[in-house]
């Protein structure tokens, strides 16, 4: 028998626990040239804000050892155009759509979530309180338990959709923040977003990114992400979507063992647009070979004496 990959993530029924991480995947349709999007566990769209945003000036990306640094800065067309132009297309796929929501103020988060309440075809919200690439709001909300809890409480009031809160690793104690968003009503947490970083071009003496500081992602950050998923998993009861540097089946399995119920793949899509599907297949094979019947059997099963 084929192992059962299906999961129930905070009320979202998924045929497998593999999704894309918000951002590098856009709204998914560019990847439809390479993969069958309906095979994914869920599609997570790039951060949406209330109004259209231009994003940061270029250069917006540079490469580092085993990773990349980006400062895209939430460029998006705003919630109304997302609903009109992108959502109808995404709805054609038989796959849960999770909308990643960002904002500069609590009112903005609330307004976007309220707007999404009235549209058909959305399975959940991922609240991005952790984007390092915007001056106002963004990571600020995610960097203290008080503000994180406040934004989650306010959003919880206006939405009945499953609410997943995406946490930033740029804090001293991520466990504390995870606990506070759980108490404030979150149905799940995603971790981690990118780590703040900086690169300097030694020829020109200038920062490589126009925004000076950017967010580090890719294989370089995986051990940090695993550590955080493991710590948070000990402390909360809501499910975790683990992400940060996943580029192979083995990487994905590490996240499940650390305590993630689902995983998301960001940067690796840039290198291999078929990576999500390859990891789904690889997970199935791994479970089969090891004699497990379902994915949940390995969740949190790291052996610690």
């Amino acid at each position: 028998m084929k192992p059962d990959l299906s999961i129930d993530l905070a009320g979202i029924k998924m045929k497998n626990p593999v999704m894309n991480a918000s951002g590098p995947f856009g709204c998914g349709w560019e990847y439809a040239q390479f993969i069958d999007l309906s095979k994914l566990g869920a599609i997570v769209v790039k951060s949406i804000t209330l109004k259209e945003q231009r994003g940061n000036p270029p250069p917006r990306m540079c490469e580092t050892a085993s990773g990349i640094l980006n400062s895209i800065g939430l460029q998006n067309k705003g919630v109304d155009r997302f609903v009109q132009e992108d959502l109808p297309y995404l709805r054609n796929y038989n796959v849960p759509i999770i909308v990643n929501v960002a904002g500069g103020t609590i009112d903005e988060y609330v307004a976007v979530c309220d707007r999404l309440n009235h549209v058909h075809g959305i399975s959940g919200i991922e609240l991005n309180i952790s984007c390092p690439n915007v001056k106002k709001g963004g990571a600020i909300f995610g960097s203290s338990s008080r503000s994180a809890s406040k934004v989650v409480t306010e959003v919880r009031r206006v939405t009945n959709l499953p609410l997943i809160v995406k946490l930033t690793p740029n804090v001293t104690d991520i466990v504390k923040i995870a606990r506070s968003v759980e108490i404030a009503g979150a149905d799940g947490v995603s971790l981690i977003n990118t780590l703040l970083g900086m690169c300097i071009d030694v020829e020109t003496f200038r920062p490589e990114l126009a925004s000076i500081i950017g967010g580090l992602s890719g294989p370089a950050i995986k051990p940090i992400a695993i550590r955080m998923v493991w710590q948070v998993a000990q402390a909360i009861d809501i499910p975790i979507i683990g992400m940060g540097g996943i580029a192979s089946v083995k990487d994905a399995i590490e996240f499940f063992l650390a305590g993630a119920t689902a995983i998301a793949i960001g940067t690796a899509n840039l290198i291999n647009p078929q990576i999500t599907i390859e990891i789904i297949r690889g997970l199935e094979k791994f479970l089969e070979e090891k004699g497990f019947e379902a994915i949940w059997e390995i969740v949190g099963k790291v052996k610690i004496d």
Partner: protein, 255 residues
């Protein structure tokens, strides 16, 4: 667009640190247009993870095409060590490519340094269509004027510039553009090279009210339009060089 494991047929060094790589790959060769590019995984190396973009340099037939590259860093060093029969993971053809308008009679191509790479496939197309072709080629030194003999043969006239003055005009290739436009009366200008050069081309062509197509370069992530890392500023806001370009109308770019 296709993600393909393509066979390397041939690697040739054509100048110090400059190589051509020939691929056997029907999916891409049979569809590629001048000005498009491929996104290459240059090797399994955790020190650099992103793909690298290279222009379609020559289309040799329905199964084969070439890229032309200069060794500047990690990825291109890996490519320089490839051997025939090795296999590379490539994606393409990507981007919009140059447009050749119907009724085009005369054109100037401006190539700066490695900017010659995409222009060679364009030249072959222009030659097929019997459009009058003039070339302005610039490089640091005489040795870096790639394909100079071939270009000289195929163009009605070639204008040369080298930074060290070892051949042709001593200085920048754009120094020659005023004179060339007056002499050749082009309907359209195509340019590829450093951004400073493209900017000059844009200014001069707009002075003469001649349309110009420029091929832009940006650091790329996905190369397929999803990640928004390769944007450049245009009159309609940020556009993605990988899918909205790399070829833009020169008047569109905010320099």
């Amino acid at each position: 667009m296709f993600q393909v494991k393509a066979h390397v047929l041939l690697k040739e060094q054509i100048a110090p640190g400059i190589y051509t790589l020939r691929f056997f790959c029907r999916e891409i060769a049979s569809r590629a247009k001048p000005g498009q590019f491929i996104h290459v995984k240059c090797g399994e190396n955790r020190n650099f993870i992103l793909r690298r973009p290279f222009s379609i340099h020559r289309i040799l037939g329905p199964d084969t095409f070439e890229i032309l590259f200069k060794v500047v860093g990690k990825g291109t060093s890996c490519l320089a060590q490839l051997h025939p029969h090795e296999i590379l993971d490539i994606i393409g053809p990507m981007g919009n490519g140059f447009t050749i308008d119907d009724g085009l009679k005369s054109t100037i191509l401006v190539a700066g340094g490695m900017g010659i790479a995409p222009l060679v496939s364009l030249i072959e197309e222009i030659d097929l269509q019997r459009i009058r072709l003039y070339i302005l080629q610039g490089a640091a030194t005489r040795e870096r004027l790639l394909y100079f003999m071939y270009l000289k043969r195929i163009a009605r006239k070639i204008f040369l510039a080298t930074e060290d003055g070892s051949i042709g005009h001593k200085g920048l290739v754009t120094d020659l553009l005023h004179v060339a436009i007056k002499e050749c009366k082009p309907d359209c200008i195509y340019a590829c090279g450093p951004e400073e050069m493209l900017k000059e081309v844009a200014e001069i062509s707009s002075e003469f009210e001649i349309p110009a197509q420029v091929s832009m370069e940006r650091r790329m992530g996905c190369g397929i339009g999803a990640c928004l890392s390769c944007v450049c500023e245009t009159r309609d806001g940020y556009k993605r060089v990988c899918v909205d370009g790399p070829v833009f109308d020169a008047t569109e770019i905010v320099w």
